[in-house]
């Protein structure tokens, strides 16, 4: 029974997404008020030639700070999970 319920809900979900795919703006013509500002003013405001690096480190630099902490958390997590065991037992 569970299998049928999953299959039905999944097919509805995918049909919904395909419907959404048709409603989104045509592939090559996105609305772009925010991005036009960035493209024009990158060199004047941030001095960087590459608009993408300017967005990553200056316009939305706070996202990249969050990004760096995600990588830091993942590395700390993995190293923590495989730490060598110099373990003293918890007193029962």
């Amino acid at each position: 029974m569970r299998k049928i319920a999953i299959a039905v809900s999944l097919s509805i979900f995918v049909a919904l997404l395909i419907g959404a795919a048709f409603l989104i703006h045509p592939f090559g013509y996105p609305p772009s008020p925010m991005d036009d500002y960035i493209i024009e003013n990158t060199q004047r405001e941030t001095g960087a030639n590459s608009a993408i690096t300017a967005v990553v480190f200056d316009y939305r630099g706070y996202d990249t700070l969050g990004e760096a902490t995600i990588l830091f958390a993942a590395v700390t997590g993995v190293v923590m999970l495989f730490r060598r065991k110099k373990l003293s037992r918890i007193k029962p």
Binding site: I6, L10, F13, V14, L17, I18, A20, A21, F22, I24, P26, F27, G28, Y29, P30, S32, M34, D35, I38, I39, T42, Q43, N49, S50, A51, I52, A54, V55, V56, R60, D63, T64, G66, E67, I70, L71, A73, A74, V75, G77, V78, L81, F82
Partner: protein, 118 residues
């Protein structure tokens, strides 16, 4: 600005990838395959973000020796950079936990390693 079927093919590909990824996540019992399904979902999200930023006949928005032509949107590419690193971080953590589950229960089958019931 014709909005015919051929123009929205990338978004259909994204919808197909999401459907496949959710099918894998729901139906697969082996934990490694479940992690693979999740990485498909993450790359589907990245594909979706990138295709949002494309402009007809656009070039990369970098001013060093740029050819002529309007420029592609820079913000989705920055968002995709962030979501790629997030996908890698989640993948590394999940796989190290699967290694631990395998080491403790001797199998990566999610049914057998179901230690906690109810």
């Amino acid at each position: 600005m014709t909005q015919g079927i051929p123009f929205n093919v990338p978004f259909l590909a994204v919808a197909a990838m999401i459907g496949i990824a959710f099918y894998i996540i729901i139906s697969q019992r082996n934990l490694i395959k479940l992690v693979m399904g999740l990485s498909i979902l993450a790359s589907g999200a990245n594909l979706f973000l990138i295709t949002l930023g494309y402009r007809e006949g656009g070039v990369a928005p970098i001013y060093t020796y740029t050819p002529a032509g309007i420029m592609v949107l820079p913000v989705p590419q920055a968002l995709t950079l962030t979501s790629i690193v997030i996908a890698v971080a989640c993948l590394a953590l999940m796989l190290s936990m699967v290694i631990h589950i395998y080491r403790h229960t001797g199998s990566t089958d999610s049914e057998k390693s179901r230690i906690m019931k109810g």
